[in-house]
Structures are given as C-alpha cells and as structure tokens.
Symmetry: C2
Subunit: 343 residues, 2 copies
C-alpha cells in the first residue's frame, strides 16, 4: 500500500529516492499553537493521551502544518508501565512522577501482565482514527519505550540526572531486574504488534536513558531486550534509538532493526563508521540549532545533510524538539531537508 | 619534595610504581559520618566551603579514614562564578541555584573580573591549612570547573537535564559566549595558579557537562578554553575531566594536560585506544558498583585494574562517589586497588 508520500517507506526498503525523508521527534505537540489548543481542551497531558479523537487530531497536525513525511502517534512511553500497574502523573517542569516505585527485589511482583488490547485500547483506537484521518497521505510511526528506560522510571520513580537508584538495582538485584525487564519486554512486544495491527507502518523504540549506563551493563540489561523486540517484530521496520549509547551502534547494526536513531552528541560520520552500511541512520541535528536564525538553521541543516553518506538516511533532530522552539524555525529545518536534492 | 606516600606524583612523572595510585572524586565529604559532623557544625555547605579551618579538616579526613593516595581540597566549582559576581545557594535535592543568570548577550558585562587572591582567599587559606595538617603525607589536588561548565550554570541558573538554555546561547550569541568564556578562563588560570602557590601539587579541571554538547560545539566553546588553561598551568600536572566528551579524548591527548579523567560510560580499553600512550588515564569504576556486596566490588575493581594497559593509570571512580554509599564499600574499592600488585 504505497502512500501518496511514500518516501520514508521507500528509503527503509532500500529504494533510491531523490531526497531524504524527514520527520521530527515530538513533532506532534509542544511547539504548535494548534496543539496547545487541543491540549487545553483535554485539560491535561494524560487526558489528551487517553482520548483517541484528540490524540489522533494532534498526531495529524504536523503533517498539515509542518509538511513532515510521516506521522508519529501522539502518546507517551509511560503508558506501558501504567498498563502494568504503575500509574504516573505529569508534573509541570518536573516531568513524570510515579506514585509507587520498584524500590527493591520484592516489588517486582507488582508489575502486572497487562492485556494490552484492553489496557492500551485507547492508543490502538487513536492509531485507527489517525490512519483514517491521514487518508493515505503519509505512513504512521508507532512507538514504545525500550525496557531498560521503562525500568529506570519505575525504579527511580521520576526523571533523574544520574538514575543511580536504577543502576544500583541492576548491581544489587540483577536476577530480579532481568525478571522485570523480561516482563516489560513481553508486554512491549505484544503492544507493538497490536499497534501494527491497528495500522502502524513503522515502530520506534526509545531508550532515552541508555547513555547513563556503564557499557557492559547496558549490553546485559538494555541491548538483549531490545534485540528480543526487534527480532519479534517482523511485520514492519523497527527503529532503535538508544540515546547516548554510542558504544552500542556497532552491535545494533548486527541485529534485526532497520534503522538506528542517532543523537546530537556524536557526529553522523562517526555513527556511520560504527554502523557500517547495512542500516538506515536517523537524526541528528542538535535541536538547539533551531534557536538560531533562518540562515544559520539552513546552513547547519545543509552541513548535516552533506555529512550523510549515501542514501540510507532519515533526517531528524538528535532529540525531541524543545517546547519553546518557533514553529517557523522547525518548518525551516524540514524545508531545507526537502530542498536538498539527491539527484 | 617527595611525600611519605609519593605514588601519585611518581605515576604522573612516568616512574614505575608497584601499584596504581588511588583517590576518589568527592572523597572529602558526603559518605563519611565524620564529615557530616563538621558539616553540621558549619551550618551549611557554603559556610563549610568558606571556613578554611573546617574545609581543611574535611579535606584531610579521607586520608586518615579511607587511606587514599592524595587529598583534594574541599570546595566547589561554583566559587569561581560567585567570585565573579554570581552568588549561588545550595538547595536540598535540587543542587545549586543562582539568584541571577546570564539570560542574554547584554548580561555578559555582569561577569566581574575577580581578584582571586582577595575573593577566593578562603580557598587559598584552606589549602595552606591542609598542607600543614597533611604533614607531608600525601600530595594535595586543587581544582576548578572548566569554563563551559561554569558558563552552563550561569546561563541555565541551575542544574538541568538538557542545558538547552546554554546550548541555545552558544548558537544565538556565539561572540558574547566567547567573551564570557574568555573572562572565566582568565579568572580560572589566575585561580589555579594561586592554588599552586598556596600548595596544590596537582590541579584538575572538571567539565561536568561536556557530554551534553554537540561535538563540534564542544570543540569550539569547551576544548579551546581548557587548552588555554592546560597551556598556562606549567607549574604542576593538570588533569582534564570532560565528563561524557569521549569524542574529545583523542584531541586532549595532543594537549598540555598530564592526565585525562575517564567517566564510567566508556570502557577503559576504548579510552586508552583514543588517548594513545602519552597520557595518564584516571578512572573509571561506575560509582554504583559500590552499592554491591564486598565480593562484587572486589571483582569489578579487579576487572577494571586488569583492563588498565600498563602503568599510566590512576584508579578512581568514573564520577563523584554517591552520597548514600557505605564508607566500608568505598574503603573496599581503595583497598582492592592497593592490593593489586604490578610487579
């Protein structure tokens, strides 16, 4: 089922395209006043996430308003732990806060096996509504948090600069950590498969806190669960974005994922050297570039594009777009990518 | 002036030693109950930092209580911006908070040229008292924050997960950023030279937030000022600890520093490969290892020591020791290093 704009799927399929596809992490939301209107209507971030009609509406907004080559379902990585029995609140400035945490080995049993079709029905419904609303214009990306990042929030209870409670847990209770990570992995596989059945054309795993771990620890507790997921999801291309884990790029390039997400803290040349030529790379403009002037944004974007070796790239930022970004500046980045001719 | 325990200076001088020297970032403070007693006496963290007798006392404590091969002066990297007109408070859980910040280009002039001998006399006095108290047992390490990390706190006003205000400033006002960084650099050079005159045998630069920057941006706004400092400080060996900036190790190895600090997010083998054999490497055990059992700590420490290639290493953690670490566990790490025989 080719889309009217099929450039992202063509790139993933290894076809030659005349430009790079482009989308932006956190494109649905934050920077658009049209998003903030819907968000106000919803009353809270979590209400917005759990109301399929509204989630679908903000998912589609950037396709119309920014001209991106894909939509990504508006949701949150923390819907999975919530479905597994750990509800969270989104606090202003502070971010997510969990009312209960995994503080010790004996808390692992609190993680419930979730029936994702039931507990996360609102996401699946939002995907279906989005697909309808998109009217075959662009593909839709589904996503989930990678198991270790989910486990990090569950053990820490909130965001952290060091996630030392999580890292402590891995050293002190490795067997229980593996039990928890396996449970989260199983649920995540079921959840992503359900997203695909509902209509997701691509799925992305966000391992937002990968870089905080010691490389050997990340291999043991992070990579193996990501690899279980990329192996299990055979229906659609899978993107792995393990932020900060530059030492894993070489190994992820040997696994079943199609695309590796690259953050702004490594040059694309270094990333390509580590990944080799078999994978698509996605990224990696520093989102802070978008605070600059239009000519500066064009120059930095073109520099990044010139650094892409060959055709196997998806242009994106190296992190989610920051909330106070001027949408015209974001649009400038997207337009610059679209005007960069590969012929 | 060889010290009774001269192993750290011998290692820095390239002499063969029969074991690796060891000290621990944040060894003065936090984990020791003897520290907390002095801290309570001082009333506040900042009172402790600014009272030379008490600062000297807690600086010497770990030499007696933990058996480390060096003392490091108890102070804070933020005494420099304070001396330059930007006072801060230490808030529980939150960390440092500045009452005024560098919000835009026009705020650069607020940075005062500080007479460090006057404004930071309390640190210099603490160094002198420490030297007396140490009675020639071990060398004393002085330190300062690297200019970009200081600038990051001044622009952000507090700690941050992304330091996006700082990164924005560098993109939007590069000329003014360079002016500020040069001012901070000049003051830092004067400050470190004064520390050496007061008795510091080694100095370390902490670039705690180096890893948050885009590599090219870090080169432009971080590395060049560090290099000015390492070039200017010819009196004693200089250690550069640019946390997270693995892409800079290769370049720092070409500069005037003697030692490169390595965090826990890179394997020592990778770090050594990047640095080559001309520099001493310092680090890099994950501080969370110290939450494990004694046998686990011994095993992880020995694994790290076996990974040190040759003699040019200083054993340390890859980050400051975390506050809730059992001092017996920290002692176990130090003892394991001291028992690891190089003959």
């Amino acid at each position: 089922m080719p889309y009217k704009n099929n450039i992202l799927l063509d790139t993933l399929a290894g076809k030659k395209t005349n430009r790079y596809p482009v989308w932006v992490m956190r494109q649905a939301g934050r920077v658009l006043k049209e998003y903030r209107e819907v968000r106000a209507l919803a009353g809270s971030f979590i209400n917005l996430v759990t109301t399929p009609e509204l989630a679908a509406e903000v998912t589609i907004q950037p396709v119309d308003l920014l001209g991106v080559d894909a939509a990504i379902i508006f949701s949150d990585i923390l819907v999975v732990p919530e479905a597994m029995g750990f509800p969270y609140k989104m606090e202003e400035e502070k971010g997510p806060v969990f009312s209960k945490t995994i503080a010790g080995a004996s808390d692992i049993h609190l993680l419930e096996n979730a029936d994702v079709e039931d507990r996360l029905a609102y996401v699946l419904e939002a995907i279906k509504l989005t697909k309808k609303g998109l009217e075959n214009r662009v593909p839709l990306i589904g996503f989930a948090g990678a198991p270790l990042t989910i486990f990090a929030y569950l053990t820490e209870g909130k965001g952290s600069k060091t996630f030392s409670a999580t890292r402590k847990f891995l050293y002190v209770n490795p067997a229980e950590a593996h039990m928890a990570l396996q449970k989260i992995t199983d649920t995540t596989i079921a959840y992503l498969k359900a997203q695909v059945r509902a209509g997701a054309d691509i799925v992305q795993l966000f391992d937002s806190w990968a870089g905080i771990f010691e490389p050997e620890q990340y291999k043991t507790f992070g990579e193996i669960y990501i690899n279980q997921i990329t192996k299990a999801i055979t229906e659609v291309p899978v993107t792995v974005f393990a932020k900060g884990a530059w030492w894993s790029i070489e190994r992820f390039a040997q696994t079943g994922c199609t695309t590796i997400g690259i953050d702004w803290n490594i040059t694309m040349a270094d990333a390509r050297q580590k990944a080799g030529n078999t994978k698509v790379l996605q990224g990696n403009l520093d989102p802070c570039v978008l605070y600059g002037t239009i000519p500066d944004i064009q120059q930095a974007s073109n520099k990044m594009l010139q650094g892409f070796a060959g055709n196997r790239h998806i242009a994106n930022l190296g992190h989610g777009v920051y909330p106070d970004t001027d949408p015209q500046k974001l649009r400038c980045f997207i337009d610059t990518v679209k005007e960069f001719n590969l012929n």
